[in-house]
Symmetry: C2
Subunit: 138 residues, 2 copies
DNA sequence: TCGATATTGGACTAAAATTATCCAACTTTG
DNA sequence: CAAAGTTGGATAATTTTAGTCCAATATCGA
């Protein structure tokens, strides 16, 4: 199983593209799709999610398109991933909230898995969009 | 999305149960299922996977059942999880093998994600079944 | 040896999530 | 006003997950 789904992968590519061309004004979804091999009809849905999440800004109308809402160094991998596929949980019951699991309190697994949850979140928070781009240059 | 699926969760509970009662001889699937709230018809499938993976030994016939194949301290969380849901990959293209992704070589994401992959694997290898049980005692 | 107790293996199904596709409505630019 | 573009939602195809069922096989004990 993949932790990062393919729609999220598309979105990350789109973000990287926007970051690379951030000084050229908004980029139309159509152009983005063809540049990054993303199904054209699908990218609208992804871009809308990214917009809702505040990672991207949209400009309607002719000459419109999409642009990053902030500097690439301020966009974390975790944010981007969660914008598309929601929070990555090791196991739902760890979310606490609607921890419908009646075993949670005494569950020996929960204790250990919380550590993994932290590690994953921290790791993905540390990586920024600009860092991802850097490995492109070299 | 959960990294650990619910069938895997069932399997982990089953393993924990077997570990706790490892000196009482083989435990029948039926008994295991009712003790751990696992659908009875489903547990056979899980136990077979665990048996195939070499984590559990099965004893056919009357008075038969299942028992851990090794000491709980020799069973890692990663093994158990992979026995049920296969390898956990951050992203398929990282597997290298059938890395059908034509972008892999130049993909700026891959480089970063490999680190996450390592972190997850290492974390799950460090945790053993006996460690999981310890948090039960306290 | 027979019958009861178990596992084995695989076919089958139901439900949910993922991965799209399509289209009518709306907005902006020129 | 027309062209270029986004918005939002309905719908559909595919895959994965989760679960069910049953006939075949193996072993124990009387």
């Amino acid at each position: 199983m993949d932790i990062i789904r393919s729609d999220t992968d598309y979105a990350l590519r789109a973000l990287a593209h926007l970051a690379l061309h951030k000084d050229n004004g908004p980029i139309a979804a159509k152009a983005l799709a063809s540049a990054e091999d993303i199904p054209e009809d699908f990218i609208y849905k992804l871009l809308r999610s990214l917009t809702k999440a505040g990672l991207v800004e949209s400009y309607m109308g002719a000459q419109g398109g999409f642009a990053l809402a902030r500097d690439p160094s301020k966009v974390t991998l975790l944010e981007a991933v969660e914008a598309i596929q929601g929070p990555i949980t090791v196991r739902k019951c760890l979310l606490g909230k609607d921890s419908a699991c009646p075993r949670h309190q005494t569950c020996p697994l929960s204790a250990k898995l919380e550590g993994l949850q932290c590690a994953v979140d921290q790791f993905m928070t540390k990586i920024t969009l600009s860092e991802i781009l850097e490995s492109l240059k070299s």
